[in-house]
């Protein structure tokens, strides 16, 4: 199978509010990414937009953002499952031979209430009327972790504080206040057992990546970053609660992308992880499926400082979603954050990006995981 490289990328800083419309924001990120890659719009073969209508306030919202991503007159598509799913579309486009150069972009400008939006993603008969929405679904998972002894409330506050500490040092991040464990633990209870500082904000900003075929990547870069693994998995919405907690969809995406990338021992083979944890408990719940520890080993890993940005096994060195959480381009931002890590850390060669659509809540969710690696450290 051929290779696909990432030859350029760009992000804007993330904030509470955007002062640009969605198309303008995406244009800014896309043109900067093209410049970073050393190509222009004329060289592009395809554009893949990461967004959902409900985060843009327009039906068929890719109509607005595809031209902003350079897609006028070109083969443009829009994937709704998160940034890494959009990357996979561009990746497949290239490997199929349909494109040599593809741009992946997303942008968040519009203000909306993500609890109302997520409620509208649940089925009309059973869950929407309750109302189930993203935060309450996160809280259900958090309760399961607490009551099964998998984690404590203090662990939730600790992982949140770890994210905030790392975000404080990230110039692109939205929330850079560097909240302490004390700040988190005393923040108002939002949806028991989750406190407000254990839940991601809604961030505005944009991000774009330029992907290339192997031939083109070698032309454009002398040390390309390759996508060495990419896979997805889903979980049913009306399965048992045990199924929801087991997250087999996540495990499938991890197992297959690791296999593609030849990752046998993640703690050794991977230098950093950027994962989508829109509420503190998720990061803890994902350590074991990611292969960082055995079952029940997450709190110890966390407490030992291993997964902090400066630790031996950084997880969310960008500060994660608790610091930066744009609905549309979150997955693309996580890829960009992983690329930043590889660029900024000497000797770092390989990173794992885990993404999903759980900004809409859990149950019925889809995960996508990808592995990026530099040809040489």
């Amino acid at each position: 199978m051929g290779k696909v490289g990432i030859v350029g990328y760009s992000l804007t800083t993330f904030r509470d509010d955007a002062d640009m419309s969605s198309d303008e924001l995406v244009f800014v990120a896309a043109s900067a990414a093209l410049k970073d890659a050393g190509v222009d719009r004329g060289d592009l073969d395809a554009v893949s937009v990461a967004s959902i209508d409900a985060y843009d306030g327009i039906t068929i919202s890719n109509g607005w953002t595809a031209p902003a991503g350079g897609g006028y007159g070109k083969d443009a598509t829009r994937i709704q499952g998160g940034g890494v799913a959009a990357v996979m579309s561009a990746y497949a486009s290239i490997l199929s031979g349909a494109a040599e150069l593809a741009l992946v972009a997303g942008g968040d400008s519009v203000r909306f209430d993500d609890t109302v939006t997520s409620n509208a993603s649940y089925d009309v008969f059973f869950n929407r009327p309750i109302p189930l929405f993203n935060l309450s679904s996160y809280a259900l998972l958090a309760t399961s972790l607490l009551r099964s002894g998998a984690a404590t409330e203090e662990d939730f506050a600790m992982v949140a504080a770890k994210n905030y500490r790392d975000g404080a040092g990230n110039p692109w991040a939205h929330v850079r206040a560097g909240y302490s464990i004390g700040d988190v633990a005393s923040s108002p209870m939002a949806c028991w057992p989750l406190r407000s500082l254990e839940i991601a904000p809604c961030s505005k900003g944009a991000c774009a990546l330029v992907l290339a075929s192997e031939r083109k990547a070698r032309e454009l870069s002398d040390n390309p970053v390759w996508i060495s693994g990419i896979a997805g998995g889903s979980t049913p919405c009306f399965g048992s609660w045990a199924e929801t907690m087991e997250m087999k969809g996540l495990r499938r995406a991890i197992t297959r992308s690791y296999r593609m990338a030849g990752i046998g021992n993640p703690a050794k083979d991977v230098d950093a992880f950027e994962i989508f944890s829109p509420a503190a408990p998720f990061e803890l719940a994902y350590y074991e499926p990611l292969g960082l520890c055995g079952k029940g080993g997450a709190p110890e890993l966390l407490r030992g400082g291993v997964t902090s940005g400066s630790g031996a096994l950084p997880v969310n060195p960008s500060g994660g979603a608790l610091c930066t959480n744009p609905g549309n381009c979150g997955g693309v931002y996580r890829v960009a954050s992983a690329l930043n890590f590889l660029r900024d850390h000497e000797g770092a060669r390989r990173a794992v990006v885990q993404d999903s659509d759980i900004n809409l809540g859990i149950m019925g969710e889809t995960y996508h995981v990808m592995v990026v690696e530099k040809e040489r450290a």
């Binding site: 640009m20 303008e24 222009d40 006028y72 209430d113 109302v116 008969f125």
Partner: protein
Amino acid sequence: MSTPQVMKKEYNMHLDFSLPLGKAYTKWMQALKEKKILGNTCGKCGRIFVPAKPFCEICFEEPREWVELDGRGIVESFTVCFEKFRNCPDPPYVVGIIRIGDAATCMTHFIGGLAYQRPEEIPGQIRIGMAVEPVWAEDRTGDPLDIAYFRPVK
């Protein structure tokens, strides 16, 4: 044997949004308050955009020059709506695709001020290429409806 009865559930999705318009759109909208129709120009290809654009889709650059147009345009296409749809105006109403001056792009707007006895006569009153001019609304807020409609130039 009777057909099975199934239950029905009425539902809708009500989502509220707030959209920042950004520099180019905001400037264009504000000008409408002063009865001005502006366009911006791509420095690379020279195309004039009405409504203004934050970037030229073709050259992929920000258009930096602004021009003021006199507001006259021509009809590139149109339709006359005869049926009532929810949240849409009462028929008959005419929507046109209008090119203002030398703009490379067209805008969508109402065409009004037509004389007719029966609504069926309206399509015959409108020619492709017909010259039109804006009729301004009394109350203007920085919105495309600051122009109430376009009417044929006498």
